[in-house]
Symmetry: C2
Amino acid sequence: MATLTTNAPECSDSKLKSVSNGPYLQPDSVLKLSPNEQRTVDHILRTFRCLIADLCEQFNGGHPGSAMGMAAIGIALWKYIMKYSPSNPSYFNRDRFVLSNGHTCLFQYAFLHLTGYETMTMDQLKSYHSTRADSICPGHPEIEHEGIEVTTGPLGQGIANAVGLAMASKHLGATYNRPGFEVVNNMTWCMIGDACLQEGVALEAIQLAGHWKLDNLCVIYDNNQITCDGSVDLCNTEDINAKMTACGWQVLDVTDGCYDVEGIATALSKARDNTNKPTFINVRTVIGIGSKVQGDAKAHGAAFGPEDVANIKKNCGMDPNDHYQVDEEVYEFFREALPGGRDLEQEYESMLKRYSTVYPELSQEFASRMKGELGDWKSLIPHKQDLPTTPTASRKSAGLVCNPLAAGLPSLMVGTADLSPSVNMIWKRKVDLQNPNLKTTCGINGDYTGRYIHWGVREHAMASISNGIAAFNKGTILPITSSFFMFYLYAAPGVRMGALQRLQQIHIATHDSIGTGEDGPTHQPIALAALYRAMPNILYIRPCDSEETAGAFIAALKATSSPTIISLSRQTLQQYPDSSSREGVLRGGYCFIDEEDAEVTLVGVGSEMCFAVGARKVLKEKHNIKSRIVSMPCQRLFENQPLEYKRDVLRYRTTTRVVIEAYAANGWERYADAGYSMHTFGHSLPGKSAYEYFGINEEAIAKKISHLIDTVREEGLDSLRGEFRDLNLGDHSAE
Amino acid sequence: MATLTTNAPECSDSKLKSVSNGPYLQPDSVLKLSPNEQRTVDHILRTFRCLIADLCEQFNGGHPGSAMGMAAIGIALWKYIMKYSPSNPSYFNRDRFVLSNGHTCLFQYAFLHLTGYETMTMDQLKSYHSTRADSICPGHPEIEHEGIEVTTGPLGQGIANAVGLAMASKHLGATYNRPGFEVVNNMTWCMIGDACLQEGVALEAIQLAGHWKLDNLCVIYDNNQITCDGSVDLCNTEDINAKMTACGWQVLDVTDGCYDVEGIATALSKARDNTNKPTFINVRTVIGIGSKVQGDAKAHGAAFGPEDVANIKKNCGMDPNDHYQVDEEVYEFFREALPGGRDLEQEYESMLKRYSTVYPELSQEFASRMKGELGDWKSLIPHKQDLPTTPTASRKSAGLVCNPLAAGLPSLMVGTADLSPSVNMIWKRKVDLQNPNLKTTCGINGDYTGRYIHWGVREHAMASISNGIAAFNKGTILPITSSFFMFYLYAAPGVRMGALQRLQQIHIATHDSIGTGEDGPTHQPIALAALYRAMPNILYIRPCDSEETAGAFIAALKATSSPTIISLSRQTLQQYPDSSSREGVLRGGYCFIDEEDAEVTLVGVGSEMCFAVGARKVLKEKHNIKSRIVSMPCQRLFENQPLEYKRDVLRYRTTTRVVIEAYAANGWERYADAGYSMHTFGHSLPGKSAYEYFGINEEAIAKKISHLIDTVREEGLDSLRGEFRDLNLGDHSAE
């Protein structure tokens, strides 16, 4: 059995510590392997590398190189360091492991197999890159499968997720731990490659983890100095250790990351012991070690070919004609993982029992959080009669709805990308999530129980870290982010990963049209809604007033497996208490103002609803045309309605439908025959003037619609098919 | 007159240097102001700050604080450091100035006014935040206006642009400078605020500038430690100087950035002198200095109110009742900027003359580059008969078309976000853009004349830096970027800024559908095309074979005021030499395979064209339905065609139109009655199996279309209006 040598700072001599809690390396310890153990470890390293080479060879593809290079890291993690339970992959207080270099997924899959995760059979391992639709070994790790915490692949996302997972632990621990009862104290371990240190989202997340002093986070850098194009020095020559130190991280080095399991385990153990900073372990490895292309970019993303695979095996002393060789000695080495995990769980369960006796109320709340129960949110949503009836910006309405939710629901963590004064997400007596020792210049401090997050001007990290927070345990924390809608383009890769992973989140996106005004075209979204309306598994909701904003929150809270973007105005908006309806929002679109024998159905959306209402009046008074109005805050919710409902709302058999929205019309063609929309970028002008500048006013709209109706009266409604009419193509700007 | 004291390293005594080239601080100099000059400078600081306060007060809005805090930096830059010519803002070898903290635009506008840019009158200054549509003082600087190099605003973009401008200078200088003829040797100066040091795109760009040792770049950090939420330490506590040093930058400090014009100018001068690294000057300033809210977040984005503005003026010894006070002494101080600029230009022009005598050929090429002439690209595009006819991946076709262009056109700079082996953009004898002293481990080196760029895994910086390269001088450099299409979501904020600024660029986006295969849903784009199809002023082109790929490049090269995304397959694609047409691509859509009396028009796109062709066959043979095929590689180009052409191509009066594309259908409703498309994220499977998994095969498509045709035969074509049919809604995946 491995000798666990403590190396406590207070005593210069090393001494043995008893192992009280499974096989894990104890605090202040260094790992010392006996010669026999070292031989076994070497055998496992060889076995692992040959297995990876075989798995990529079978379908002539995949990413073998880094997985082989990282083998020793994996042994250190899964054998000596990580606390997990293969028989219960979702054991609540497990250490979280994130593979940010997700293309090396075979690394993780193989260790899940070796440590006894039931679903990860050898057959499943062999399904990597196969045509099996039920494979749990996709080309990048996916959250749906056992033992996988988050879906990674797009580089930089995983490390941001890991920061989120560590924040979640830190926050839950600070909230629910009591002396003697560490109900949440898990570590988050994150593997990254060279590429993750180049992606902006990772660099943002690194800053934040250092700022928050997330000492429960350890990033392990597979430093093989190779990416697709060649050696990393083609495009990166920074001093990474100095940089990480400057960002507030503890930096540790391992020089022989290919073989030095002792050194790696000792560094990992130091990371767990550290109580002040996140840890960055710079582990030098060799990509594709043992192959003919080791240390070369060719080892990154292609199989080695049968000849080289045979050579690798020969050099490892293994039979080149035998494939997927994993002998008993290897399985035996990891055998204790299963019972060790069960022991962990049992200890945890019995602690929770004692906790429930000593802290019955807290324990009950914690149990509810563990189950992912949000609590009674319905009673916290303001009633229609309590909402404003005078002109109100919908970003203000969002505050009116969200602030009581945030105050009342401990699951909500609300943050902003440095737009607190603009997005109205601060509630009374909010506490910031901060390291408690931080004393800011402006005097706004906090602690880890805090649920208000200053993300800084880091929209992308905000979204991607929030994915990690939401992924800690489904429903335990519901992250709410906020920024200007335009900057959800920066956040989009993170928002998308949330949708892909079915993680509930609410994104508060204010300043959502040219009504944003003076900030100009850089800040005025035109095309962004088209992205989110097309994106699978996300709701993009654009409410027109306070009542619809309440509806948007209800829809978002009901969507437990989807993120929602609530798209809000900077400018004040008319309120329509007689027309607007939260129930209508839940159906995506609904009849807002009806009119018998209407010739026109105007589709009003969000802050442009006022132009629909105004145009309707002008159409009637000046052009003698009857029109009705449909409000359509959410295309996706509407699309999910039965055909009969959609027919009834849109009345396309009897009316000409015109959508009015200051966005690109793309996608509205499904619901309208014509659009009064934007075809250029915006313009820097006060909001009202910006609308004027682009011809978006009730008179102009009504005039164009009246011309269209003249044509329709002549040619018939059916003539509209196939020729969507852009009613606002005037060249207003220089674009 | 200011004393310019040299401080050359080789001599410890300071000594005077004569001023040979305008009023600028000479190499190895420190600025020493006489007491009189110091008084004038102080007067200008006061005047400037009161002017900013007034300009924000008039319409009760805007961003006064940082502009006021940065006043001394502006004096140092525009008076002592920058080489520019107010009477010719586009003087080729001018120093470039980028305001990355674009919300502080009044800072730049006011200095453009003071230094004599003709269009920047006091009246125009007063148009800031007004309803004047012809204002050249928008809420963020815009490239269209004199003296503005790039449009900034979305934080982090400007510093990336500045890196691009500096790269362009470096590259052009290396290519065209000869001993005694420095035809391009300008500096790029970039102001940033605290926020730019948090945005990922900036952090990526900082790494690259350090890697490339862009010693012609100086970033000036307006370190006021305030963002919207409060003090910066709410969300950032890193050691920025150590971090910049680790990233390979020279770091200089200025402790009193509010008043120490001497110290700032001296630091700026050191930045120009430095010949090894980019320079980062950490200038401590006080936001809103002189106001009651100085040093507070309240000074950031709101007017101070009349009372405080009056106080500011009183404290400055100015009349609180007088507004926009700029006296003769102030104008006099900057008077030399105009003639100084003209002198610079004259010297430059006469150098160019001499250059043309000594280096006639080089000079001719340089003159052509200055004019933005691309050269004879038409002859470099392969003819149809030279393109492959056997199955070929369109990413390979793109290489066949682009490689000769890159080899033959010195304007092209081609780079990749670490996907050289995948995107096929390397041409024979390409030279990398690198610092010539770099010797990489993999042995691939280069120099500044190089035109192949290893961007690393930094898609966002790739796009945003490319904007700067393209903005150096319109047409002088045409940047070509490349990555997987999915990662153009990371790059999207940069791509959008290119479209907004009308900068020609070509983005090579490969692996553009679920055909990407094993990498799985994280790498398979579903919704991204909807964004780019809706985005103003950009072409998203998805060619179906090599001939259409050639057409896509022709369209991209013709679009001199727009970026183009060419969207390409990983997998091999059938070639259609009898049907596909580059001329057709230029019209966006065209009849691909005709059929008399067709009942159905199939719209085929990109790598899904094979399913349209296959379904047509099955429809005929199995279902006895005649169909024709339209290829529509680019919606925007098609939309710009005359109505008659569109009618003729789509034949919606006589056929049922079905689009077949493995993307979300959003937007296709304009051109089709039904779509065979994607409604979920993708799945990790080999490309062919992924299509199968989602029911995208010719048999299934034909069957669904045949059902639809049954309905249409019964209910008539007109019944299709208002009810777009999603023919592929089967729940294939877990999504």
